[in-house]
C-alpha cells in the first residue's frame, strides 16, 4: 500500500490520504419494486477480475472529494492516465 492516487483537485498524493469506496457499480437501483435479491446483489456482490477496474476513492485527508480512478489490483497501482473524475 504505497502507491499514489491522482486526486482531481490535489493531484498525485500518497494512498494513505485516501479512503477506499469500493468498485464502481453504478448508481443505486431504483427502490420502487426492487427485490431483496437484486438489492443484495448490488450491495454485496462484486466480480474481482485481475485486471484494471474503476474504483471510488475519497480524499479524506485532503480536499474531501469522492472521485473515480482506475487501479490495477495485480500491480496495485493506479493505471496511468487515470485522471480523477469527480
Amino acid at each position: 500500500m504505497t502507491f499514489r492516487l491522482t486526486c482531481p483537485v490535489c493531484g498525485k498524493r500518497d494512498v494513505y490520504e485516501f479512503t477506499f469506496g469500493g468498485q464502481e457499480r453504478g448508481p443505486r437501483p431504483t427502490q420502487e419494486g426492487l427485490g431483496a435479491e437484486e438489492h443484495f446483489r448490488w450491495v454485496q456482490f462484486r466480480l474481482i477480475p485481475g485486471e484494471p477496474r474503476e474504483e471510488w476513492w475519497y480524499h479524506g485527508q485532503g480536499c474531501g472529494v469522492w472521485f473515480r480512478t482506475t487501479r490495477d489490483p495485480v500491480a496495485n497501482r493506479e493505471v496511468e492516465g487515470g485522471d480523477g473524475d469527480g
Partner: protein, 1042 residues
Amino acid sequence: MGMGDRDGAGVVADRAGPPEGRLPGGPTCRVDFSRPLDFTFLGRPVTGFAGDTVASALYAAGVRIFGRSLKYHRPRGLYSMDGESSNTLMRIDGVPNECAETTELRAGMSVRAQNVRGDPRRDVFGFLDAFDRMMPAGFYYRVFHRPRRAWPIFQNGLRRMAGTGVLDPVGFGDGGRAESGVRAERYLNADVAVIGGGAGGMAAALAAAESGLRVCLFERRGWLGGHLDWRTRDFDGVALHRRGEALAARLLEARSRSPEIVKVFTSSPVTGVWGENLVTGFTVGTGDDPFRECHWECRAETVVVAAGCMDRPLVFNQNDRPGVMQVGAAWRLARTYAVRPGGVAVFSVGDDLGLEAAADLAELGVEIRAVADAREVGRQDAELVAALEERGIPVLSGWAASRAMGRGQVKACELRPLNGTGSRRFRCDLLVANAGMQPRIGVLASVGARLAYCSHTHGYRPIELPPGVFLAGSMTGLRDPRSIEASGRLAGHGAVTCCLDGAQERAGKAAATGGREAEATDRHGAASVATARRDADALPGPVAGCGIRHGPGIGRGAKAFVDLDEDGTYKNVVESARQGFDVPELAKRFGGFGLGPGQYRVAGQNLAMIMAEMRGDPVEAATPTTMRPPLAPPSLATVAGPNHDVHKRTPLHGELAGLGAIFRRAGAWERARHFSEDRACRDEIRNVRRNVGILDSSPLGKFRIFGPDALEALQRVYISDMRGARRGRCKYSAMCNDMGQLVDDGLVVREGENDYYLTTSSGRAGPTVEWFRYHTRYDGWDYNLVNLTDVLGSLNIAGPNARKVLDRVTDSDVSNGGFPYLGCRRITIGDGVEARCLRLGFVGELSFELHVPSSYCRYVWDLLIEAGADFGIRPFGLEAQYCLRAEKGHVIIGAESEARVTLTDIGMGWLWDREDTASQKVGAPALRACEKQPGRMKLVGFRVDGSGRGRNGRDGGGPGSGSPRDGAVVVDGGEIVGYVCTTRRSEALGWRYGMALVREGVVGLGGRLLIRQEESPGRPEICTATVVPPPFYDPEGGKPRS
C-alpha cells in the same frame, strides 16, 4: 551535527601512536587513539577507541569467539565487519541481537554474548555439535512430533537451547535505557534517490545534482566511499581512497551549495523499496544527532541502485571456525580500524580485490603463507600476482581452501586444487576466504527487478528494471574505478531525463502548449545520456567473475556451512535436495536456509548455485530467491515509532481536570469518564435524578448543511421523512447503512430556506461528510456540508433543577410554554453569548443542551456552575450518562446495536418512513427485506430477579456476584440465543435492569431470560431475569417534558 550533515570524507588522522595490539593508523584509519573508551565484555573491563565498532574493539582486545551458533552451539567469530552474519549479534546494554560489527562503540557499554551461558569460549551446550545426525534438514518438522505428547517437551527444550538473543520483556534487562532512546520519523521527497554512497552512487548523485533536481543519497556505512574507502593502491598516480575522498568532497560541496536540493544520509541502511519508488530505511544516530534511530521514507521519482558488492562466502569444511573471515572483514579491520586481523594468514579468494587485500595486509606486516585463487592461471591481475610473488608469497591459481583446522579457533588450513589431486597444509591463525564478490541484490529484488544469473560476472544481474530505476557501480560487475564512476554518471543522467520526461508529460497534460521548450529539455537530456553512455562504453566493462560453488573435497567428515545464521550445512542441502526440496525456495522452508537474520542476502547465491549443481543443471539455472524487507534490520523500537498519542481535548478539559475528572479515550477524544473513584458513579447519577448535573458533550458531531439540494441529501441518508424538520424544533432521526444497520442517530433542525443544523453521535463526527458525499455521489446535488464539531462546544445541563439554573444565566424565555420539549431556540447567555439551545431528554430528565462557540465554553461553564450552586449542580461524566440513558432504554450504537441487527430489530423501526421509495433512502430496501424475516435478534429489556445487589454487597455484577455483567450470554436449552448488551443496577429503580439482544421467539414479554456466565473457568453460574419493556425509568416520559 544533524542527519546528513556529517563530514563523510573526513578521515581521522593518526593523532597518537598505536597502542598495543593495534596497527599504526594509516590514512584510511577511522579510529582516534587519543580518545579511549572504556566498556565491559562479560563484565570484564575492555578499552577501545572512538571510531571503533564494538566488534573491532573486542577483536583488538583479543576476543576471538563472539558467540555460539543457533543449532550446534559451535563457536563463532568475527566474519564480515558489515553485519552480514549472526555470528556477532550480541547483547548490548540489555538489548539483544545488536550487531557488534556495525554498532559504534560508546563509553560504558555492557556487552554480552548470546545463545550461551556466560563465556562463549566455554558453552554447556557445545556437545550438541556432535549430535548433528539427530538434526538433519527439516528435523524440526520430521523428528520431534512422535510420540505426540512428547512434542511440548521437545519444543520447550529446543527453544531454550536454540535461538539468538533473548528479549527481556520485564524491565528490559540491564537498565532498558538503550531501547528507550529517542526514535524519530522523517518523510522525504526526491527526484532522484541514490542507494549506496560508493563511487557509482556518488557519481550518480553528482550528475543529478548538476541538473538542479532534488537528490537524496543513502549510505549504510558511516561515511561515503564504498570500496574505495580503505584501498591504498595507486590508480592513475592517486591512491584509491583519495579518489573516493575527492568524489565525496565534490558531493558534500554540492550539498553545502544547495542543502535543500542535495541531501546525503550516512549510517542510513535502506530497508526496502516499495510501490512507486518509496524508499524506506533508517538512520542510526551518531554524534550530536537528536535521535537514537530515525525511520525515514523517501518518495522518489527515480531510484539509482548502486548498492555495491559483498564477499560471496566460500563454502568449505569447517568454514565457520573463528579465524575464518571474509576478505572485506580482514582488510577493513586492518585499514579502517587499525586492528591486526591475525599474525599468520592464508588467503583463498576468487577476485582481484582478494589479491589486492593480501598484498595490502602483507604490506602492513601480516605474515601471509599462501594465496589460493579459485580462478585459473592467467585470469588474475598480473601486477598484483607479481607484487605477492615479490614478497615470496605463493599464489596458487585454481586452488581453494578445503578445510580449516583447529577447535576453538583456526590453527591451520588445507588448500587443494579444484581440478586434480594433492593438498597443502599451512599453519595459520587467520584464514581469509571468499569465492569472489557477489552483488548486493536485495534492493534490486525489492524494486521488483527480474534477475538472472550472468555466467560472465558469476553474479545476478537484472534482465529488466522497473520504470524509473537505474543501476550503477560495481553491482554490474565493473571493477575499474573510472568505469564505476562513468556508470554512475550514466545512471544519474538517465534518472534526470526520466524525471524531466515525467514533468514534461504532466505539463503537457495541464496545458498542451510549450511543446518547443519541452523538446529542448528532451534533446538536452538525451544528449547528456548519449555522452555519458559513450564515456562508459569507452572504459573497461564488467570483469569475469569466479564461478566456484564450494571448496574442494567438501563434506568429508566435516561440516561446511552454507548458511551460518541457521547452521545450514552443505550436508543439509544434500539431504534437502534428496528429499525433493531441490530448489532454493523449497529448501528455505525445509532446511531453514536463509531464514535467519541474513535473509538470503549472504547465502542466497551459494545456495542457488549448489542446488543447480545437485539437479545437474548448468550454473545459469541458479535462480535467485525472494529477498524480503527489511534488507537491514532496524530496532523494534524504531519500527514501533515515537508512538505519539494523538487525541483531541474539549474546550473544557482544564475545567474538568480541576474538578477531579478521570479521563479516558473515547474515539478521537479524551473525555471525562468519572468524577470519583466510584466506577458505578452513584453520586453523579443520583445528582442528575434529584438536582441537576452538567456534562461536557463537546465531542458531539455538529454540522450545517445548506444549498438548493440540502433536503434531498437529508432524505437520502436519514431514514425518516426529513421534510418534518421544522424551525425551532428538533427532529430526531437515524442513519442506516445499505444493510439496514443503525450507523448514527441525531437531531436535525431547520434554520432557514434550504439550511439545516444537525447533530451526530461523537464517533460519527469524522466520517459524516464522507458518508453524505458518498451516498449522493451520482446525483450531482448542490449542497454544502460544514463540520462545526470543533467550532462549537456543547454543554448539557440535566435534572429537575435544570430550568432554574438556565433561567439565571439568560433573559430568554425558557419556560415550558415558551420553550417546550424538543424545542430549539437561539438564546443569549450572560453578557451576550449567542447559543443554540436544544431541549432534549437523552438521560430522561429535564435537560438543555447549549451549543456555544468553543472559545466561550469556559465562560458559559463558569456561569452555569455559579448559577447552579444553589441548586446542587455537579458535573457528571460519560459513565453516568451511559447509565442514565440505559435506564431510559435509549440505544447507543455499538452497545445495543451491532452488525447482525437492523434498525427495526432494536425497536427503532418507528423512525423509518416506509412509504418513501423515491428518495432512495440508504438502508430502506434492507429494512424492508429483513422486517418479516424470522429468527432475527431483537433488543429486549430485562429486570434481573432479586435485588440485583451482588452477594458481595457490590453493585457491579459479574461472575460470582449472582448478577450478570455486560457481555454475558443468554441461553435456552443449552444453546446460546443472545447476549447482554448493557446491565446496571439502578438506584432510582431499586433493581438491576438491562438490555439484551436475543433471538426472536425464544422469550416474550414477562418471560424468563437465562443468563449464563462463568464464575471461574468451568464453573457456570445462571442468573435469571424477567423480560420487561424499556424504558425502565419514567416509562411515561413525563420528566423531560416537565
